[in-house]
């Protein structure tokens, strides 16, 4: 029998069900997550002690002893209506994220599927906690909804593989009270093919690739993994990064080896790296010489020694560090003045951002980062030619 904070009842039921134990008894109490006040804990347990005793001693019912699962076979076509009706239907079913969606019609999904040579029913992964089947078609449907382009499919498929990696755990940090946000870093030639921004405002809205790749992964988290806000996702504060936190590394203007090369891939490979971010801060270094940049980093990174960090360095600030001979490893060693033995390799570095003097520090989960290689379809160049010119053209005033 499990003691569950009353707000977590749906989360507890989903967790028990996903482990094949829907009959596990629960007693709801009033002690919030992570609470430490002993008077409140004592009062909370005192109020339910009789329920606990009943839960432990009441004979099992037939349903509890031998639970039955209702077969779930969702229809492929779920609705027909106009744009507004489709949007309302998806939102009310809990399948959308609050922004309008593109209706995933047969035609739109077929066009999205042109972005991969894999058949629609190919199973990329089963994503926990629900173990939903991330088939190529389901990925494509969610990609259409998000407004993605077909050329993003190879990256999205690799992203799903990253989400399924055991290194990030069975629930992939998506249900944590800590509201981690997936942060996706793309490396290799695909960055240019997809126009993934690595320059000015790369983490701001305005680029279709940066915006919709992350949005698709968010919809996949909801509709394939089965992680819904306030139901399974018990993030207390929430995280704006969950809209979309996607960036390319600027390898051309970096003095160092790219992130994916550091992690064993070839420079010519295209990869996607997944890291779970708690928060993001922008820092103006004390000066633009190497020592000033590094001392600023130590000042800001040190207080959070318990976790991990991604340090985003603009090409402008990377230059003086590189020219003074600082390698990525030197910077990591210099920054982690009090390394935590339980967290190997806690600092990652990548180069991105416009030509300016800002450092980005992303602090996050102690789980290791995951990098997956992107496999491209045979007609990739033709596909890229078809969609690459979709870029904003701003009127000057």
């Amino acid at each position: 029998m499990a003691l569950i904070y009353r707000d977590f009842i749906h989360d507890a039921r989903s967790a028990a069900s996903s482990r094949g134990m829907p009959g596990v008894r629960t007693v709801l109490e009033t002690i919030p997550s992570e609470w430490t006040d002993m008077d409140d804990i004592e009062a909370g347990i005192t109020a339910v002690i009789d329920d606990i005793i009943t839960g432990l001693t009441r004979p099992l019912t037939d349903e509890e002893r031998s639970p039955e699962r209702k077969a779930e076979k969702p229809p492929r076509i779920v609705f027909k209506g106009n744009l507004e009706e489709v949007n309302r239907f998806f939102y009310q079913r809990g399948w959308a994220d609050g922004l309008p969606i593109i209706p995933p019609t047969e035609e739109a999904v077929a066009e999205m599927l042109a972005g991969t040579d894999l058949p629609p029913d190919h199973l990329v992964a089963r994503l926990g906690p629900r173990l939903g089947k991330a088939t190529v078609e389901k990925i494509a449907i969610n990609a259409v909804m998000a407004g993605a382009l077909p050329t993003y499919m190879p990256l999205l498929i690799a992203g799903v593989q990253a989400l399924a990696d055991p290194a990030i755990g069975p629930t992939g940090l998506a249900v944590s009270t800590h509201s981690f946000s997936p942060f996706w870093i793309v490396n290799g030639p695909i960055c240019k093919d997809l126009n993934i921004n690595h320059s000015y405002g790369a983490l701001s809205p305005g680029d279709i690739a940066n915006a919709t790749i992350g949005r698709t992964m968010g919809l996949i988290t909801k509709n394939i993994r089965g992680v819904r806000k306030g139901i399974e996702d018990m993030g207390v504060l929430g995280n704006p990064g969950r809209w979309s936190m996607v960036i390319a590394e600027n390898n051309e203007d970096s003095p160092w080896e790219p992130l994916h090369v550091e992690h064993g891939f070839n420079k010519e490979d295209s990869t996607i790296t997944l890291y779970f971010v708690s928060s993001y801060q922008q820092i103006l270094p004390n000066g633009t010489d190497d020592k000033s940049i590094l001392n600023t980093l130590v000042h800001y990174v040190t207080p959070g020694q318990g976790g991990t960090f991604f340090i985003m360095i603009t090409p402008t600030l990377a230059r003086p560090l590189g020219s003074k001979g600082w390698t990525k490893q030197d910077i990591k060693d210099f920054t982690m003045v009090r390394p935590n033995p339980r967290i190997p390799n806690p600092v990652q570095i990548f180069v991105a951002g416009g030509a300016g003097t800002r450092l980005g520090i992303l602090s996050g989960s102690p789980r290791p980062i995951v990098t997956k290689k992107v496999e491209l379809p045979a007609e990739w160049n033709k596909l890229v030619a078809k969609y690459k010119n979709i870029v904003p053209t701003y009127a000057m005033y």
Binding site: P32, I53, T57, R65, R69, E72, T105, R130
Partner: protein
């Protein structure tokens, strides 16, 4: 201003109507585990297991549960088990499987405090 007025992905509609596909994934039925162990009719004289995960409210909750149950069932025995995990796989799927199974065999019933 975008250089195309409509989204490039084909959303061809018929009379303003869209027939749309489900984004909700299918999932294979998860094998259900039967709850085979009978529940004790009375906790007196039973060995009660108290399982706490690594969430910081879990251990204090288990301690209070033990105190309260002791008051009502003075002949009950208690055994606490602490996991170092809060968000990871269940203990039975970790390297502590054997230790956990041994603990489970030694108790008559279990109250789990997960701190959430």
């Amino acid at each position: 201003m975008l250089n195309r007025e409509v989204h490039p992905v084909n959303t061809k509609k018929t009379n303003g109507q869209y027939e749309v596909l489900s984004p909700w994934a299918e999932a294979d039925p998860i094998p259900l585990k039967e709850l085979a162990a009978p529940r004790p009719a009375d906790l007196s004289g039973n060995k009660i297991g108290l399982l706490s995960n690594a969430k910081r409210a879990a251990r204090p909750i288990s301690s209070v549960v033990e105190t309260k149950l002791k008051e009502k069932f003075p002949t009950a025995e208690f055994s606490q088990y602490f996991t170092l995990n809060a968000v990871g796989p269940p203990e039975i799927e970790t390297e502590n499987k054997a230790k956990f199974e041994e603990w489970i065999k030694g108790v008559d019933t279990v109250v789990a405090a997960v701190g959430d």
